[in-house]
């Protein structure tokens, strides 16, 4: 009475095939990541040492460490963050909490989405024109960071807006109906309940910014600098550009060196992502609904 009939067996076979297809696609996604990390660790791992992280490149960048590039990347990301986060979060707050839904805000939203899709080399040219030449910051950390900031803005805005909109409307209405202004509502209820999402978006954006090469190439990152930058008006080395340079532009670089540099870059990014995930978990634990 309950034995499988031919149609059941046929469906079972189809079921197995589809399950296999989806699993295969997942593996296609995961395997390259594991291979990349594996190769980096195996070939670049031996390069990593305290000296590698704390000394400058020597002998035409074929020996020595990555200190100027490592500090440069950190500086670029920090300045980009200081420039983009206040603007991006404030813009998202306006769009989510104040702006009416009309053609203007719809146009702004569309512009933001399109801005996120602009290739990074175009941002680089914009940064060169705007920050290096027009504002006369020269090729400097400031110009490069602002270029990175412009690139990061749409992503910060979109992720912040999503976090804000995840706060239930009922909370806002409860506030408004007690006579709270928009800002009082935002400060006391909306921001405290969306801060974990906002920070997650910001930190993920940091890790993406750290790896960018094109936007900083014309605007502030140097091929090689024998000294550390003294202010934001100086040029700097950066890990991403340094990796590009020693992989393609400099003869006689030992095999393991680019892998070592790449491992440091990936290490920074992974470290930031882990921090963001840990932070988010901690904040979620404090969430009140």
């Amino acid at each position: 009475m309950f034995e499988a009939r031919p149609i059941n067996r046929q469906n079972q076979t189809i079921e197995r095939i589809w399950r296999g297809v989806f699993l295969a696609m997942t593996l296609v996604l995961v395997i390259p990541v594991l291979v990349i990390l594996g190769v980096l660790v195996v070939r670049g791992g031996p390069m990593i040492s305290w000296a590698f992280l704390t000394t400058e490149p020597t002998n035409g960048m074929t020996e020595g460490g990555v200190l100027p590039a490592l500090l440069g990347t950190i500086a670029l990301v920090l300045v980009a963050l200081i420039a983009s986060v206040p603007v991006g979060v404030a813009a998202a707050v306006y769009l989510s909490e104040y702006a009416a839904d009309n053609w203007l805000t719809r146009t702004i939203n569309l512009a933001i989405i399109n801005l996120a899709g602009v290739p990074s080399i175009v941002h680089a040219l914009f940064g060169l024109g705007a920050f290096v030449l027009f504002f006369q910051f020269g090729t400097s950390i400031l110009a490069a960071s602002l270029t990175l900031a412009v690139m990061a803005l749409p992503v910060v805005i979109v992720s912040t807006r999503e976090s804000l909109q995840a706060v239930p409307m009922a909370f806002r209405e409860a506030c408004w109906n007690m006579g709270a202004t928009r800002w009082q509502t935002i400060r006391t209820v909306v921001l405290p309940n969306s801060i974990s999402g906002i920070l997650t978006g910001v930190i993920l954006e940091v890790s993406r910014t750290a790896g960018e090469t094109a936007p900083i190439m014309f605007t502030g990152a140097a091929f090689f600098l024998p000294f550390l930058p003294q202010s934001v008006y100086d040029q700097t080395m950066a890990l991403s550009l340094h990796l590009f340079v020693i992989s393609t532009q400099v003869p006689g670089v030992p095999d393991g060196l680019p892998y070592g540099v790449a491992l440091v870059l990936v290490g920074i990014v992974l470290l930031m992502n882990s921090v963001s995930i840990a932070f988010r978990t901690w904040l979620r634990g404090r969430k009140k609904w």
Binding site: A170, C175, W176, M178, Q184, V189, K288
Partner: protein, 256 residues
């Protein structure tokens, strides 16, 4: 005029876009009493209630004509501050909506928003919290966990808290939009009991779907149908001897 009515509307019309939801509503709500608004779904009773603390405006496409006065003062007009309207006319919703803050902070929330004097001391705040929670019969259950989050309370307790947080700013009029319909029978009974104890100190306007509740828990009752006020009398008279045949049909359950 000795004692102005708590709420008085004159020829109040309201449109949602092109749809007219209220037609020439003239209603006078007596101060210090509980008035229930009844009527079938879509009759405009919630719209009327929401107009009295101007929530309807938020939708943007709402247009009104006519006037609403609360304790003799117009609530619509260029000289009127929406914040003051919202402060002095408290609103309770169908679904309890405590803020994601502690019980204590929920009670103090409105008070802190509107406090014009110096920052209160901890002791003064404690006093405000205790008084508000005692008034809504919630003090004994919550006094040991004021720092806990309000969303962990039962629905009945949440609804009482939502009433409690209105009280520190001393509103004179409380609007309640089906305040018990998300609660179980026991919670409904408890909140009705609370509403009855607030009578006198506050004027209460109560929208309800539940005719038994209107009958139990209100002094006066207004029946609305298709955007118009049909009949408004003391609850007893309205239920025992309705004047309008449509009222009679509704309370006897011929339509709903």
């Amino acid at each position: 005029m000795a004692d102005p009515a708590a709420v008085q509307t004159q020829a109040f019309n309201l449109w949602y876009g092109t749809f007219q939801a209220l037609y020439d509503v003239d209603i006078t709500v007596a101060a210090g009493r509980i008035t229930s608004l009844i009527g079938p779904s879509g009759c405009g009773k919630s719209t009327l209630l929401r107009s009295i603390n101007r929530i309807t405006e938020r939708l943007g496409y709402v247009r009104t004509t006519g006037s609403i006065e609360v304790y003799g003062h117009p609530i619509i007009g260029p000289a009127v501050s929406l914040v003051q309207v919202r402060k002095q006319i408290g609103m309770v919703f169908q679904r309890p909506n405590p803020l994601p803050l502690s019980i204590r902070e929920n009670v103090l929330f409105g008070w802190k928003l509107h406090n014009e004097g110096p920052k209160a001391t901890r002791a003064q705040e404690d006093e405000i919290v205790e008084q508000a929670l005692r008034t809504v019969l919630l003090w004994d259950e919550t006094k040991d966990r004021l720092a806990h989050t309000a969303t962990g309370l039962s629905l009945e307790q949440q609804q009482k808290l939502c009433i409690a947080r209105l009280l520190p700013v001393k509103p004179r009029l409380l609007l309640m939009d089906e305040p018990c319909s998300a609660l179980d029978p026991k919670g409904t009974e408890a909140v009705e009991e609370l509403i009855w104890t607030l009578r006198g100190a506050y004027t209460i306007l109560l929208v309800t779907h539940n005719m038994a509740q209107a009958r139990r828990a209100s002094d006066d009752c207004a029946f609305m149908l298709m955007g118009r006020l049909v009949e408004h009398r003391s609850t007893n008279e309205l239920f025992v001897a309705p004047e309008d045949p449509r009222t009679g049909d509704y309370i006897e359950g011929r339509y709903g």
